[in-house]
């Protein structure tokens, strides 16, 4: 581990992206992933450690036209307690309710959970089925520019994303769900919380007269990144939630994922869980 040469704590976004532009920067927000990973030698902190917690632009949850914008620095606890989230995005609140422990929720941020790009990150699967986009800011030519990317396309591997080294993840934008929108999250670990998912499932769609449209299915911890499951979505799109459809969707899900064996579960068991829990989620939606 090379020693950290400088520690910076910018107070504005402009300042922060300026520092990033100079290169060799590790970003610190809540620190709940960064610290244990660097200590364990899995992640090397670069020459500059930049604490972004003093930047006001990165905080808060607000309505922004037809979307909800959640600042990257928003903690998991703040999301859990936010009235906008409760009203429009209950599936995200549900995921936050299964997220680690109170202490970690108080420190850990949404931007950090996304930036850490764990295939098992608890907020990623629900955000993907909510069609969330990430907002990235940079200062390549002396002025701040931003771009947006769908979250479903953001991850490229464990710990890797399409964020360029000079970019800062500033916020997540989630379109306001339409009438009839339903979304569910399920996480499987040995313990109800304070556990890394063996698998996680997000399912969303709009139900109109019993027919599902805009079907979204995403899985966590079954691939190098959280994934959107196109074939499973296809099995769900435009269908009624009858027994045959549910079984077809669950089977499609099992076939579509390609997990690995690790200390937490075998691939076979993960596929079984994906099938059984996809079925259970859809059964519950059908009965509701």
């Amino acid at each position: 581990m090379t020693p950290i040469e400088q520690y910076l704590a910018p107070a504005t976004l402009d300042e922060a992206v300026g520092i990033l532009q100079q290169g060799e920067v590790t970003i610190l927000a809540g620190g709940t992933d960064l610290m244990p990973q660097s200590k364990a030698g899995r992640l090397a902190i670069k020459r500059t450690l930049m604490n972004i917690r003093r930047i006001p632009e990165l905080k808060g949850i607000a309505l922004d036209n037809d979307a909800i914008r959640i600042g990257a620095l928003t903690t998991i606890t703040e999301i859990l307690n936010d009235p906008l989230v409760k009203e429009y995005l209950p599936v995200l609140a549900d995921a936050c309710d299964h997220f680690a422990s109170d202490q970690i929720r108080n420190a850990g941020t949404l931007g950090g959970n996304i930036g850490n790009a764990s295939p098992a990150g608890d907020t990623l699967v629900p955000l993907i089925v909510l069609d969330a986009e990430v907002e990235l800011a940079s200062k390549p030519n002396g002025s701040v520019t931003t771009r947006r990317l769908p979250l479903a396309e953001f991850f490229t591997g464990p710990g890797r994303t399409k964020r360029a080294a000079n970019e800062l993840l500033t916020a997540v934008r989630i379109p306001l769900p339409k009438a009839g929108h339903v979304a569910r999250f399920f996480k499987f670990g040995t313990r109800p919380a304070l556990d890394i998912s063996a698998i996680s499932i997000g399912i969303a769609g709009v139900i109109d007269n019993g027919v599902i449209s805009n079907a979204r299915v995403a899985f966590g911890a079954v691939a190098p990144t959280p994934i959107r499951a196109a074939r499973t979505e296809e099995a769900l799109e435009g269908r009624r939630l009858d027994e045959a459809t549910i079984e077809a969707v669950a089977s499609a899900a099992r076939d579509e994922v390609n997990p690995i064996d690790d200390v937490r579960a075998t691939a076979w068991y993960r596929k079984e869980l994906i099938h059984n829990m996809t079925k259970r989620i859809l059964d519950h939606v059908a009965q509701a």
């Binding site: 313990r191 556990d195 890394i196 200390v263 059984n276 259970r280």
Partner: protein, 805 residues
């Protein structure tokens, strides 16, 4: 203070059975307790150990030159630097620093003492070790195969030093011609006849996994030599007096020059019952540096290098008659000893007691072979083999009951012992609340009705199945005579203000002994708990005690404390009688006063009496000593004998919900009935039982140290799953007060008991819910799901048939 005038008569009161807050609770809750981690001695160095990066290998070379050259490094040691090192451990097979061969990943190769932990860490990275890999034994069954690689072959040092060995040299010097670390054989009754009389016989193999203690306080030590060469150790040991003697042997020192002080200990559970290489190495470093040296494990190191519970492969044959009478038990176990022998290998002492004497068994035949492998080595852990034994027995009890179509509770009651019985192994049950434990736990949980109903509802729609399971345990409750003495000494003094200093050999490791011992003393002397100061952590001050193990402290140290208090009381009353011209038998102590025993009328304030005694012509202080040795006996060569002064019993009923879609088992309720002799501190005993239940729950459902080809794959709390608050079940605990005649105020030991039955009862509950019996622990969701889908591998054990007669 003129209390006497207001209180003309002092009402009789007792502290026994009350809810008394632990004396150390405020300090701990406020974060003010100074553990060894918090201690900083002037001039102190920090030490780190370089461990093997190979599971089994010959060490070709070790180069420490770069580490020694690093600024801030004071000492770097390898085996070559301590040619006088002696082997440690039960079998003397373990040299603290390995010079010739590493046998597991935890093995110590070099150690550094430096100005800071960071420098010590950096120095470790500069040490170059060249290895030559050797074949790995990770399956204990492979260790017994003909031609298996030897874990402790005769050393072949280039200097040929082994040639100078005496014939009885320890294994570490002389080697071992096979991989058998230890064997135990026990038998009573006529096995063949008992088997012939059986109507039903089951034979199954059970597999018990690795778990580890996870003490909040990780292992640590500070060692320091004074200018005269006396050694002072700040140590977390549970057995200071045994260790003082052993260290003296390892260090070629006079034991009187070794002093052990125990800072507050953050949990032991058996893990601090043996001497480990890190302790000896730290002393070597302190000797070389001539400075205090502190060594504290990281959490990962604690997972990798502290002992585990003994993993066991166990084949049990059990039989009974159609009328429900048990006939026999035959047991063969294979203990995975790991690379070195610690207390884990001796768990058969406890396991055979459970096989021979939990329920009335006319014939019992028990055999254990403990074998060397390249895995982590097992130590002692709360329950000491009894969780493993009970897991097998209590599943067979259910299976036998089902086979003869008898209610599982009735079957157990038919074979349960009563007070006064002597078992085949020679254990005498002077007090025995076993049947009351069974009926109480069953009634309070509505066991019989639920057990029947759950079977009826197994086939109902819906993924979640409910189950209820019962299991019981027998454990020593009055110490265990393993060492020449199982005793404990007490020194007690009263000061001029009638405050008591209780100096006891018994260590406090978080179990609440300070509080319960204070309570017992105050009960004799009629004083409030606040009047007692306990001194219990310094071998230079406290009288001898064998240590914290075998659930013995309340019983043994309690009787010792009562003995000293009774002597003090006799002295006080005699003095009071003489001074006030009355008969001492008419006097008593109550509420801080000498009183008239019949009326409660105060005679003199105790503090005043103490001062009168002290500041008189014949100045006298009240100071007494007492040594209690329990009336237990050593076992004979066949492991028979009444090894404990009392025996504890418990029945636990576990209720579960099994989600058949995921395999997750939710423990919803535990109903326990514990024969504890008598409740002394109700708050303390509730806490100890609740904590024990949760530890048993972890063993049953979530905890699993995954050792894969000698490599521990989950040395952290992320992947080693302790039970957390939301999963803790509802608990209904009843105390059966059998009032043991020898116990302090009637009490028996309870420390280990609550962990023992949970896994066994959970296994029976899962069967009750699903009709699927699982023979291997732990019941993690995937293991249960596999079993429910017929994909569980049934454990097999073949090796014993080849190697034992």
């Amino acid at each position: 203070m003129n209390v006497a005038e207001k209180t003309h008569f002092i009402e009789a009161d007792t502290l026994i059975g009350k809810r008394i807050q632990k004396k150390d609770a405020p300090e701990k809750a406020a974060g003010k307790t100074r553990y060894i981690q918090d201690m900083v001695l002037p001039g102190q160095l920090h030490a780190k150990i370089l461990r093997s990066s190979r599971v089994h290998a010959r060490i070709v070379s070790i180069d420490t030159s770069a580490a020694k050259a690093l600024p801030g490094v004071h000492v770097v040691l390898t085996a070559a630097d301590v040619p006088d090192q002696q082997p440690i451990g039960v079998a003397r097979d373990h040299l603290p620093l390995k010079g010739e061969r590493v046998r597991s990943l935890r093995d110590e190769i070099a150690a550094v003492a430096a100005d800071s932990e960071e420098i010590a860490e950096a120095a470790l990275k500069l040490i170059r070790v060249e290895y030559e890999d050797l074949p790995i034994i990770s399956d204990p069954q492979d260790a017994l195969k003909p031609g298996a690689p030897l874990i402790h072959p005769e050393p072949h040092g280039a200097d040929g030093k082994h040639l100078h060995l005496k014939p009885n040299a320890p294994i570490a010097f002389a080697g071992k011609p096979d991989n058998i670390a230890m064997q135990f054989d026990y038998t009573h009754g006529d096995l063949a006849q008992a088997e012939a009389e059986s109507d039903v016989v089951f034979e199954d193999t059970f597999k018990l996994h690795y778990v580890t203690h996870c003490c909040m306080g990780v292992s640590g030590i500070i060692a320091e030599f004074d200018a005269s060469g006396n050694l002072l150790m700040y140590s977390n040991t549970q057995v200071p007096f045994l260790h003082k003697r052993e260290f003296a042997e390892y260090l070629h020192m006079d034991p009187s020059r070794i002093r052990i002080i125990q800072p507050p200990i953050g949990g032991g559970f058996g893990s601090k019952l043996d001497i480990y290489p890190f302790e000896v190495i730290c002393i070597f470093l302190a000797r070389a540096a001539q400075r205090p040296v502190k060594m504290v494990f990281s959490r990962e190191e604690e997972f990798l290098a502290s002992p585990t519970r003994q993993p066991v492969l166990l084949t049990l044959r059990s039989g009974c008659k159609k009328d429900g009478t048990l006939t026999f038990r035959q047991v063969h176990t294979l203990h995975d000893n790991g690379a070195y022998t610690s207390w884990g290998a001796t768990t058969p002492f406890v396991m055979m007691q459970t096989f021979s004497s939990l329920y009335r068994v006319p014939a019992c035949d028990y055999h254990t072979t403990a074998v060397y492998t390249n895995n982590p080595y097992a130590g002692s852990f709360r329950g000491y083999g009894n969780l493993q034994a009970t897991f097998a027995i209590e599943q067979h009890m259910d299976m036998l009951a089902e086979a003869i179509q008898m209610d599982p509770l009735e079957f157990r009651l038919k074979n349960a012992q009563d007070a006064g019985e002597v078992t085949g192994q020679g254990m005498k049950f002077k007090s025995c609340g076993f049947k009351e434990c069974l009926t109480t736990a069953a009634e309070r949980s509505d066991y019989q009705a639920k057990h029947r109903d759950n079977i009826v509802h197994r086939g109902d729609a819906g993924p979640v199945k409910r189950g209820i399971g019962i299991a019981s345990m027998l454990h020593v409750g009055g110490g265990a005579k393993i060492y020449p003495s199982d005793g404990c000494g007490t020194i007690l003094k009263l000061d001029d203000f009638a405050n008591v200093t209780l100096i006891t050999g018994a260590s406090e490791i978080g179990q609440g002994s300070e509080t319960v011992l204070s309570q017992l003393v105050c009960e004799e002397l009629g004083l409030p708990i606040s009047a007692v100061t306990v001194v219990n952590n310094d071998t230079a001050i406290t009288p001898w005690d064998v240590g914290v193990h075998a659930s013995r402290t309340t019983f043994i140290a309690g009787n010792s404390a009562i003995g000293a208090a009774k002597k003090a009381k006799a002295k006080i009353l005699a003095a009071a009688a003489k001074k006030h011209g009355c008969d001492e038998t008419a006097l008593d102590l109550r509420g801080g006063f000498v009183i008239k025993a019949d009326t409660g009328e105060p005679v003199v304030e105790l503090a005043r009496l103490m001062r009168n005694l002290h500041f008189s012509d014949k100045a006298e202080l009240v100071m007494t000593t007492f040594y209690y040795e329990p009336p237990s006996v050593h076992q004979d060569k066949g492991f028979k004998g009444d090894v404990s002064a009392a025996y504890a019993w418990a029945t636990q009923v576990v209720e579960v919900e099994v989600d058949t879609d995921t395999g997750i088992v939710k423990m919803t309720k535990v109903t326990g009935a514990h024969d504890v002799g008598r409740v002394l501190n109700r708050l303390g005993i509730e806490g100890q039982i609740e904590g024990g239940v949760v530890m048993g729950q972890g063993y049953a459902l979530t905890e699993n140290l995954i050792v894969d080809n000698g490599v521990t794959r989950n040395p952290n709390f992320r992947d080693y799953k302790l039970v957390t608050a939301p999963e803790i079940p509802e608990m209904d605990i009843s105390f059966i007060e059998s009032m043991d005649g020898e116990g302090p105020q009637g009490a028996k030991g309870v420390g280990e008991a609550p962990s023992i039955c949970i896994a066994a009862a959970a296994a029976n509950a899962i069967y009750n819910a699903t009709g699927v019996r699982i023979f291997a622990l732990p019941f993690t969701p995937e293991a249960v799901y596999r079993a429910l889908h017929g994909k569980a591998e049934k454990p097999q054990l073949q090796a014993w048939k080849v190697t034992t007669t």
